[in-house]
């Protein structure tokens, strides 16, 4: 079933932040995003059609400026599309308010960034706990323990980001992203700032997350070796998906 057909089937449904096991977790149709720089319109996405099933590990690759990061931001609810449809876990982002998208993001989406984006004043432990605090469901010690053990950061929990290596920071960032059990993990060039060894460690951990917890992962990268870890590779160019 293509994305348009899926959207036609589920598009009339009311957003409910509910799990949609039978539906894809991501479905976009003719998704467009245009940025305005002064009086100039810069099209970043020019009609993206994409379907991702729950539990998939998808890599999106393409050259710089092809719209990968913009797609990630739209799928994460950080910015609204200019036109087109985007359903994430059955919720239509194109018709949701900023507050609704924020609430959805809080409960359903985890982000991993190229620059780690840990709060520099907090320890690794508190960076991870902050995500739980913002979600508002309280501290879950079992989940916390299993995540930090899996990512191998037990010994680093009381360190602040400046005292951690790049690989350790990225593992803390992954822990923060998955601590609240998001439906979707969005990774923006997660190995972009890491050396080969740490890149491999981070990619292996993402692979393990996907396999162990059936975590849906959408990772953008310009590195074909990193993309090879994924189940599926989507190529983008000039704001469009050119191969899937």
């Amino acid at each position: 079933m293509n994305s348009t057909a899926i959207l036609e089937r589920v598009g009339s449904r009311k957003p409910a932040f509910a799990s949609t096991r039978v539906e894809p977790i991501i479905a976009t149709s003719n998704l467009r995003k245009v940025y305005r720089v002064g009086k100039v319109e810069v099209p970043a996405l020019r009609g993206v059609d994409l379907v991702v099933q729950e539990g998939e590990f998808v890599a999106i690759i393409g050259p710089s400026g092809c719209g990968k990061s913009t797609l990630l931001h739209v799928l994460g609810g950080l910015t609204q599309p200019t036109s087109g449809k985007v359903l994430v876990d059955g919720n239509d982002f194109s018709s949701m308010t900023d507050a609704d998208r924020t609430k959805f993001r809080r409960h359903k989406i985890g982000f991993v960034f190229q620059r780690f984006n840990l709060l520099p004043t907090l320890t690794a432990r508190h960076n991870i706990q902050l995500a739980q605090h913002i979600q508002g469901n309280g501290f879950n010690p079992h989940r916390f323990q299993s995540v930090v053990e899996m990512l191998g950061i037990q010994e680093k929990l009381n360190h602040k980001p400046y005292a951690l290596s790049g690989g350790e920071q990225q593992r803390v960032a992954i822990a923060r992203a998955v601590i609240c059990e998001p439906k979707l993990l969005l990774a923006d060039e997660p190995t972009g700032n890491l050396d080969t060894e740490n890149s491999q460690i981070v990619l292996n951990m993402m692979r393990a997350l996907n396999r162990t917890f059936r975590q849906t992962i959408l990772m953008i990268t310009h590195n074909p070796e990193a993309a090879a870890v994924a189940d599926r590779i989507v190529r983008m160019r000039d704001g469009r998906v050119v191969s899937d």
Binding site: T79, F111, N117, L119, A131
Partner: protein, 366 residues
């Protein structure tokens, strides 16, 4: 968790935290000291007037309740007529002499005998009553503040006075000279600026006041109770405006520093705000976190302001013992409320701006 984040942010930028706390402390300390000083001066003057022991004050029609401004003497023979009224135990005339040489002071020119009758008499720490026309009595606080010793000469109103006695404070003025000398200095004869009237019993104050009104219909007759209620900084010309202006400056200072502090914080932490937004932090969460940070700074600043005001009070009183500074609980609370309100206002715009940041732009901020 938010409190930990706030604490870590404050500790991470110690200079800005210290400057913000200092600004709030100055704001709070300034409000407390300015109000404390004006209220202290007014209340101290009122208490000393009450300490004379009279129950009724009689002044000329155009006189002010501020004695230093009362330069309209009355014939002293009025005192004899007042003394003849029923239920009057004593009447003491006083002629005010305003000194502006080296120090500002209202000197009481008194008839010692009648003044003692009304006030119950001076308590002498050293020396004794006037022995000559240019003898002066000073109170113990004035003597201590100005290092005045018994027998030394004081230059007041461009005249040399010999200190004949050092008396317990609290009987109107801090300086007393003979009434006849005061008349000479003012160039008047048999005149008084005020009559202190003591009743045979405090229960007769109203009756005696009515009787004086009938006797001297145009004169100002004020019971000491009424006088005490008039002696507030709100009733003193210009003082209320001065207080309001000083408090306003202090509040604006606190507001601006908190505003700038939080504004620069938001600019510096743009990326961190983007991170919070990517984690799903709502606008309310971000606004609350920033306001809480401002409030924490303010609370520490308020406490530092309380301490600073106490230290400043002790330092001022050590240098100027004749001053009185009243740091009241009421004004501690007002100062804290003003500081908290100012910081809330100062932090609100930066907080709102932070909440409205675009998460994508914020995450890309270098």
């Amino acid at each position: 968790m938010v409190n930990r984040m706030i604490m870590e942010n404050l500790l991470h930028r110690p200079i800005r935290t210290a400057v913000s706390v200092l600004a709030v402390a100055i704001e709070v300390g300034m409000v407390m000291l300015v109000v404390g000083l004006t209220q202290g001066l007014v209340h101290d003057t009122a208490r000393r007037v009450e300490g004379v022991g009279a129950e009724i004050l009689v002044q000329p029609p155009s006189a002010s309740f501020l004695f230093g401004l009362s330069q309209a003497p009355m014939p002293i023979k009025i005192g004899d007529r007042l003394a003849e009224l029923p239920r009057v135990a004593g009447v003491a005339p006083t002629l005010f002499v305003f000194n502006s040489v080296k120090t500002l002071a209202v000197i009481y020119g008194i008839d010692l005998q009648s003044f003692n009758r009304v006030s119950g008499g001076f308590v002498y720490h050293e020396g004794g009553p006037f022995g000559g026309p240019y003898d002066i009595l000073v109170d113990d606080i004035y003597a201590k503040a100005n290092h005045v010793r018994l027998g030394q000469n004081l230059n007041l109103v461009n005249h040399e006075f010999r200190v004949a006695g050092i008396v317990e404070h609290g009987k109107g003025s801090r300086l007393f000279i003979p009434l006849s000398t005061a008349e000479d200095l003012q160039g008047v004869q048999d005149k008084a600026s005020i009559f202190w009237v003591k009743c045979t019993d405090p229960g007769y104050i109203e009756d005696v006041t009515d009787a004086i009104h009938r006797l001297l219909p145009k004169y100002q007759v004020t019971s000491i109770k009424e006088y005490m209620t008039m002696m507030t900084s709100n009733n003193l010309p210009g003082l209320e405006y001065f207080n309001t202006a000083m408090i306003g400056i202090a509040v604006v200072l606190g507001f601006l520093v908190i505003f700038l502090s939080m504004y620069t914080t938001i600019t510096e932490r743009t990326r961190e705000i983007g991170i919070l937004k990517s984690l799903g932090a709502s606008k309310g969460y971000i606004i609350a976190a920033i306001l809480r940070e401002a409030w924490l700074l303010t609370i520490v600043g308020v406490l530092a302001g309380y301490g600073g005001a106490e230290i400043a009070r002790k330092a001022i009183l050590a240098a100027f013992p004749t001053l009185t500074i009243e740091l009241t609980v009421e004004w501690r609370l007002y100062a804290a409320a003003l500081a908290l309100a100012g910081s809330l206002l100062g932090a609100f715009y930066p907080a709102l701006r932070a909440a409205q940041l675009d998460p994508v732009d914020a995450l890309a901020y270098e």
